[in-house]
Subunit: 185 residues, 2 copies
């Protein structure tokens, strides 16, 4: 279960469920997503399990915040997860399932439209990653290697996204060319 461990990782610093949601929607968005309706109960559960503690804090606007912080046991559980080695082989890639059955569309035009939409999506993702990167580069003159640990490792996930999405765009281009060639054959 990764969500649990992600919350334990984020709770190195005091944070509320609302704060965490914002992190999912920005920094973590390349590899994980979660809704508030999943985050809040999970934080409560981690607290009853003794992995987090909570405190109330005033917020400038709106109701009181409940801020969480991880315990020693919480940190230990996160470390166990990392020490158990990479969690791989569980990914589901829906668009590839669609490509697998793309012959069910009834024209090459329809198939090319599908591939064009796919390519556009990934190009947009790549642009987003570039913009995040520019923010970092502006903040750290020694970017990407001269950064504190708690930014260096997140930066690695961005670098991975760039590699993978770049490769996916290249595959889209290749695929579009192959379908066109096939159409004229």
């Amino acid at each position: 279960m990764s969500l649990k461990h992600i919350l334990l990782g984020l709770a190195e610093r005091e944070c509320s469920g609302y704060d965490i949601k914002k992190e999912f929607d920005t920094s973590l968005r390349n590899f994980w997503r979660a809704e508030l309706s999943q985050i809040y109960p999970q934080l409560q559960k981690l607290k009853t399990d003794g992995l987090l503690t909570s405190d109330t804090a005033e917020s400038g606007q709106g109701p009181q915040r409940i801020v969480y912080h991880r315990t020693g046991a919480g940190k230990a559980m996160l470390k166990d997860w990392l020490e158990a080695g990479p969690v791989v082989g569980t990914e589901r890639i829906a668009f590839l399932a669609q490509v697998y059955f793309l012959h069910e569309l009834d024209s090459d035009d329809a198939r090319l439209e599908f591939m064009g939409a796919l390519r556009a999506y990934f190009v947009e993702r790549l642009a987003f990653l570039d913009s995040v990167e520019q923010g970092w580069a502006a903040k750290y003159p020694g970017y990407p290697d001269d950064m504190p640990d708690d930014e260096f490792y997140p930066q690695l996930t961005l670098a991975c996204g760039k590699h993978r999405i770049g490769a996916t765009v290249a595959w889209c281009d290749e695929t579009i060319a192959r379908i066109k060639k096939r159409a004229t054959a």
Copy 2:
């Protein structure tokens, strides 16, 4: 919901739940996985929804097989899914969540060990894809483009896997070098 549509795609030809499981474990394994305990009830549901029909067939060994075949409505639903455009942005990549928090491990050696294990996994996946490809190449002299439709589109998913996994291995190498450089700095 992708599983439903994948089953509708596979049920173009008559197949049993058991057959489908084998397809998940071989051809589809690059982008989706499913257990028998999810497949069997889902097939039953698709039948009651009028998207599949079923028949019993003798099997050489073991009990009777229940073979499914999709209806016109089933085919139409699959087409609707494809025509609605690519399903993207839902992926969860657990190993990147781990990398994001890798600074929580307490030595560079531990971090390099993690990255080494990750690299080894992807190298192995790449070798598997190469072996699948060699099988295809042996069967079709005009590989990869001169293949029937119902093999060409699956082949595209293999090509995508090769691109993406290749890029991931390159990222692992780059990352290992960056962590080493950081360790000596």
